[in-house]
Symmetry: C2
Subunit: 388 residues, 2 copies
């Protein structure tokens, strides 16, 4: 199996892009990644594009083909395939792109992610996103995604004594970082009080415990590691690309407070990269809801079960702490255009490992981990990246 | 790059399955493929599932996760990712599964395809399928998929003098074969007159020139070729897995009567498999509309441009002819559950190469080619399979 490196990265600003369509966002991100790699359309051999629900959001399937065309790649016949794993679609596309290059079938590929979510009213968006849960056995009976997240949070509070005040620390940290990211949806700091007093979405989750509905695109260019230095002086190696799944419905699981898919994807990732949690210099963790992030922190091996929030309380999760967490702003503050999110996490890590992250630069970052989740931690995908 | 073989294959009957849901169909096909390979859930390391529009058809995204769960694979944490390339989603999933095994990251994977289309009224189905074209620049202005196909057919008739009577031969051949396939949606022969006198969908295409709306699932198990004989005495090698794309809109193309994506995918496939068109013993060609099949026959290299229909007139396309064509019944008679189709084509070729195709068995079949198309030949994916 060949080693694979990232030789270019780019993304749009995340937010409400009422003046940009799905294709605009995807092409903008893709061209930024190509430009960053110093490549032209003729250099790309395949595209793998993460997208959750363009069929429902904007009536468009065949998204890979659409984007390849509008990126100017139709004339060179570049194959383009869409990858979907709900909110983990971006990381799933990266997993596919990784295998494409590792296999030797392609030498240079573009991996993108995009979602255009703000063209519909909120109730329709909520219903579409619920398609990541079991439509017939969860959603039909009234569950929305925040409701499922809220059940996980309530159970965690019951089992481990977590308070709403404690849980509020995670969005506060995310917003602290987002305030330093010019591409973030929300570039302002918030307080614990603001989280607690925000409108309740599904008890105990206020709207400040929930990631926003965002538009956005992100892209990276992958190349076989042995040719990566032809294109960049700072290639970033993909040391691990792993995935695992759980029952889609939370009622089918043994526990609501641990994620076997994250645990298994992380186990495989550390083994593949020959790393341990202590080797990781920064993490991008899937914080669609604060509770998901807390489970992520623990199940990725950064804290014992029930003790993840201590890292927040001790200040370790800030960009200059021991475990810089969601330095991009995370899903909460950077935003969550679902198909783009997993690729965007990796764009952030690439910037950090190249020492190009500006105000929020993590000192001496050499190894980063990205954790992207689909559904209620049903699908978990982990990537470990490091300086080559 | 490791060689990859198919060690198991299975599919549901195609048709109107009002008593089976999306998950039922996917699981039935997957378990049949596993049983055929003599494997259990614990042997599968990853799933790649082709599906076009479950989000729109049945409100369900995250389809990979759903299917892995209901196939009993959640407990073993098998990663499952959905692949979409409109009506080529099945072949795109096989392309991804091929790379997964070729890369060495996984040794044994399940590739599936499924679509559940008949739960909605026809006009809604037509609109959802139009999502494979450009929603903003084709569909918005009134184009349906049959309308786009009809324009291609009219132009071909103008350029090459094709008649409706000639074009009718293709569905007649498909139905002749479908009548011998117990899993086909339509198991009855039809005549040229029936094609010509059937209700007009989009002139010159009658409903008998159009593939039906079908429910169905199909699956194959892939393994590294070096371990394939541990599981089966008749592994089938994937000698080529290639893809190429074109402009998504037909108005952007130089010609309506040739498909550059099919030409390029075929060129790469023959090179990869070290084969020529004359080496192919049977073909499954994407006949969503008769005109698409005709372009496929020519652009895959089996006839000169404008002369493809001669093969039909000379009787070469029957299962006992020189170029057995859509011996399964093709999309027209076997059916077209869009996400399943590309995998189902390969299931047919596997059966033929194993000499297990019953009444419709092609004599001495050793090499088969599958051609799966998304949109108006926007995405083309070609697989060449051969006896190991």
């Amino acid at each position: 199996m060949r080693d694979v490196a990232i030789i270019g990265a780019g993304e749009t600003k995340y937010g409400e892009h009422w003046d940009k369509s799905l294709r605009d966002l995807a092409v903008e991100a893709g061209l930024k990644a190509l430009e960053d790699a110093g490549l032209g359309a003729e250099d790309i051999q395949a595209i793998f594009g993460g997208n959750m629900s363009a069929g429902s959001f904007v009536g468009q399937d065949h998204v890979g083909a659409l984007i390849a065309d509008f990126a100017g790649l139709a004339e060179v016949r570049v194959p383009a395939i869409r990858i979907e794993s709900a909110c983990a679609s971006g990381a799933a596309a990266l997993h596919a792109g990784y295998m494409a290059v590792a296999s030797g079938l392609y030498d240079i590929v573009l991996v993108g992610g995009v979602e255009k979510m703000t063209d519909l009213p909120g109730d329709m968006v909520t219903d579409i996103l619920a398609g990541a849960a079991d439509r017939e056995w969860e959603v039909f009976f009234g569950a929305t995604f925040p409701a499922l997240g809220a059940m996980m949070a309530r159970r965690y509070m019951y089992e481990y004594g977590l308070t709403r005040e404690q849980m509020a620390l995670l969005p506060v940290i995310a917003h602290k970082h987002g305030a330093m990211n010019p591409d973030a949806h929300f570039q302002r700091e918030i307080t614990v009080e603001q989280v607690l007093n925000a409108p309740m979405v599904a008890d105990p989750l206020t709207i400040m415990n929930c990631s926003p509905v965002s538009d956005g695109g992100a892209a990276v260019v992958l190349a076989s590691a042995d040719i990566a230095r032809k294109y960049t002086d700072s290639p970033i190696k993909i040391s691990a690309s792993t995935a695992a799944n759980d029952y889609i419905s939370i009622h089918a699981r043994e526990s609501l407070t641990r994620s076997p898919s994250t645990i298994e994807a992380a186990r495989k990732a550390y083994e593949m990269a020959k790393k341990e949690p202590k080797d990781i210099d920064l993490v991008e963790i899937h914080d669609a809801f604060s509770i998901i992030a807390l489970l992520g922190i623990e199940d990725l091996g950064f804290a014992k079960k029930g003790e993840g929030i201590k890292l927040a309380e001790e200040g370790q999760l800030y960009y200059d702490g021991d475990l810089p967490y969601n330095v991009s702003g995370g899903l909460k503050a950077k935003g969550h255009p679902v198909g783009a999110t997993g690729v965007g996490q990796v764009v952030e890590i690439v910037k950090q490992l190249r020492n190009e992250a500006g105000k929020r630069q993590v000192p001496d970052a050499r190894v980063g981990l990205a954790h992207n989740v689909g559904g209620t931690m049903t699908s978990s995908i982990v990537h470990i990246l490091e300086v080559m």
